[in-house]
């Protein structure tokens, strides 16, 4: 087992990205009580947008803009076409339905772009190392961590200090009562959906730096791990869900770098075995205080 600064930086970077994805999933869950299996497809779509721009030699900022645009539009479309009709269904149906949507989007990408993959390498210079105190660390690891931290801080401010943030928090606690106080359901849901899309786009930009090859199953494995992390951390609160996402990202990045190859092959098994263990011991979530229940939403 080799632990060096690069491994630790990678772990933080991956943990940060997974934390962002966890927030994206958690925001929508909070207001809609719906787990979006297809969240990773938003990241995939963003990555393809970046590849599209790269192939044409467009400037980096244009690519990023396109990425954000595509992802937010797709996120809103998902809400209108999939989430809204599904709101009255059982959690089991919602789970299978979003799984179907995930697969559908992946197969559309396969049809459209082929299985060979596209390259999105506009920001590949971030793979170059910075030398800090005599140690070489890839820029992207630090940038990922920094961007993730900045986004999380921004979100905390948004949720805690703004009007719409207050309404979103209230809606996540008790949507029915919130509406009767005048909180507009569509506005709150729409904001959550857009924010969730912005986060997915951010993750797409960060992820393509280390994985410039974009294939239809881009971010699929990550989504499954993030979902596991969110459930493991505690689905019902944004804070615990985010911590869960970070934890599994950190563990995955750390062990992936520290373990020798013949053991790291089995990394998914270890991670999921740990997830299952936690689910059995603390089904409410690792990072929740006992007694935190989800409030019924109508």
């Amino acid at each position: 087992m080799t632990v060096d600064w690069q491994t630790i930086a990678d772990a933080f970077g991956l943990g940060g990205m997974y934390a962002l994805m966890a927030v994206g999933i958690g925001l929508v869950f909070g207001v809609l009580r719906l787990v979006n299996f297809a969240y990773g497809q938003l990241v995939m779509a963003g990555a393809y947008a970046l590849a599209f721009a790269y192939e044409r030699g467009w400037p980096v900022w244009v690519g990023i803009l396109l990425c954000f645009g595509v992802v937010v539009v797709l996120s809103i479309a998902m809400d209108l076409v999939v989430f809204r009709p599904l709101r009255t269904q059982t959690p089991a149906v919602m789970l299978v339905a979003t799984f179907a949507v995930a697969f559908l989007l992946q197969s559309i990408a396969l049809l459209w772009f082929g299985s060979l993959g596209k390259i999105a390498a506009s920001l590949s210079s971030l793979n170059q190392p910075w030398t800090i105190g005599g140690v070489d660390i890839r820029k992207i690891s630090i940038v990922s961590t920094g961007v993730a931290a900045a986004c999380l801080v921004a979100l905390v401010l948004l949720l805690g200090r703004t009007d719409i943030g207050l309404k979103m928090r209230a809606a996540a606690m008790d949507f029915r009562t919130a509406r009767m106080l005048g909180v507009r359901a569509n506005r709150v849901i729409g904001t959550a959906v857009v924010l969730s899309g912005l986060l997915a786009a951010t993750v797409a930009v960060l992820m393509t730096v280390q994985t410039p090859l974009v294939t239809p199953d881009f971010a699929l494995r990550d989504t499954i791990l993030v979902l596991a992390g969110v459930v493991l951390g505690g689905m019902n609160r944004l804070v615990s869900a985010t911590l869960g996402g970070f934890a599994i990202g950190f563990a995955s990045g750390f062990l992936g770098g520290a373990l020798p190859t013949n053991q790291s092959q089995y990394l998914p098994s270890f991670l999921f075995a740990a997830v299952i263990l936690v689910l059995l011991i603390r089904p409410g979530g690792l990072f929740t205080r006992s007694g935190q229940q989800a409030v019924e939403r109508v």
């Binding site: 787990v35 076409v81 999939v82 009709p85 599904l86 269904q89 059982t90 959690p91 089991a92 149906v93 789970l95 299978v96 339905a97 799984f99 179907a100 949507v101 697969f103 559908l104 197969s107 559309i108 396969l110 049809l111 299985s115 699929l220 499954i224 979902l227 596991a228 459930v231 689905m235 092959q265 089995y266 998914p268 098994s269 999921f272 075995a273 997830v275 299952i276 689910l279 059995l280 089904p283």
Partner: protein
């Protein structure tokens, strides 16, 4: 009276399976492969139904049981001389044992059953989202282990030299066994108790039904049937660890959903209907003649179509094609038969 209704409920899926098998005898041999695959899919979807349909709990992990069944039947029925070619590190008794066709299928079902029992013991306490994630974990772990553990199987290699014994007859018999098992289960006390928990877990508990226990029974039984399907698959096609992963999970769930989650008839209808569409599209991807013209779809269209169908059904008609009810035989026929038997 109830017995007659029960018999009618069994009749419809059985008739459909036999009809599909008979259809397979009159088509070309390449189409016949699709028919045989359809029948094996019926076994998988019925296995899914036994658990998901009766309990209301979603399991994303059942293809793991298909996988271990395929591994069992495939490895044990390969001629000993062929094994080292693709499985050089195979452990002792697996390397030296060879069994016949039917024993390999029985063992496949047995291993599937045991694996499901082991997995189910801890997992059946979970519901809803946690169960979904946990069963997904089982799928991931199984796929991961089978892919890399070369002491118990071919690892990343594809199976070869497994006797191709799954023809029309074997697949048909397999499907009928699955349907029969599902039918017997759902009419038994166990099946009825589990369905009670699906409707209202608290009420069922209040009358003494053990939610955990009944789910475990269904899970184990469905594991056995899934294992059987794996054995059938191993004797049909060259399979690998990738054959039993997300694609198969998705398409079999799609079949169950589109047919109707909560009935045996729905499971069989869904498997047949979606397999038919999928087969047709697979042919179209290779270029097919339709109504005088040529249809040549790009590769990958079939998954998109099936995916769109599944999403559409879930959003617009979540109870599926059959409405989740058992065989809707024509009213007059039902009444006629029932009056004859109740006199």
């Amino acid at each position: 009276m109830r017995r007659v209704r029960a018999a009618l409920e069994l009749l419809a899926p059985v008739v459909l399976v036999i009809a599909v098998a008979l259809f397979g005898t009159i088509v070309s041999s390449s189409t016949q492969t699709y028919v045989i695959t359809t029948l094996v899919n019926v076994v998988i979807v019925v296995a899914l139904y036994i658990f998901i349909g009766n309990s209301g709990v979603v399991s994303f992990g059942h293809i793991s049981f298909v996988a271990v069944g395929a591994w069992t039947a495939g490895i044990l029925s390969m001629p000993a001389a062929e094994k080292p070619a693709i499985m050089p590190s195979l452990v002792g008794f697996l390397r030296d044992t060879t069994v016949g066709n039917v024993p390999s299928l029985a063992l496949a079902a047995g291993v599937g059953c045991v694996y499901a029992l082991i997995v189910g013991l801890p997992l059946m306490r979970l519901s809803g989202l946690a169960a979904g994630i946990a069963t997904f974990g089982v799928l991931e772990i199984t796929h991961n282990v089978l892919r890399y553990w070369e002491k118990i199987g071919p690892g990343v290699n594809t199976f070869s030299a497994v006797p191709e014994t799954t023809g029309l007859l074997q697949a048909c018999v397999g499907a009928l066994v699955a349907v029969g098992a599902a039918f017997l289960y759902q009419w038994s006390r166990y099946g009825r108790m589990l369905r009670a928990t699906r409707e209202d877990a608290a009420a069922a508990r209040a009358v003494g039904v053990s939610v955990y226990g009944q789910r475990l029974v269904a899970f184990t039984l469905s594991g056995a049937v899934a294992g059987l399907a794996g054995g059938l698959y191993a004797h049909l096609l060259p399979v690998s660890a990738e054959s039993f992963y997300l694609d198969l999970t998705f398409i079999t769930l799609a079949m169950l959903v589109i047919g109707g989650l909560t009935s045996l008839w729905g499971a069989v209808v869904g498997a047949v209907a979606v397999s038919a569409v999928d087969s047709f599209l697979a042919e179209a991807e290779n270029g097919v003649h339709v109504l005088g013209g040529k249809l040549d779809l790009p590769s990958g269209t079939r998954i998109v179509v099936v995916g769109a169908l599944m999403a559409a059904v879930l959003i617009l008609r979540p109870q599926g094609l059959t409405g989740g009810r058992e065989a809707p035989l024509p009213r007059a026929l039902v009444r006629g038969v029932l009056t004859k038997f109740s006199a």
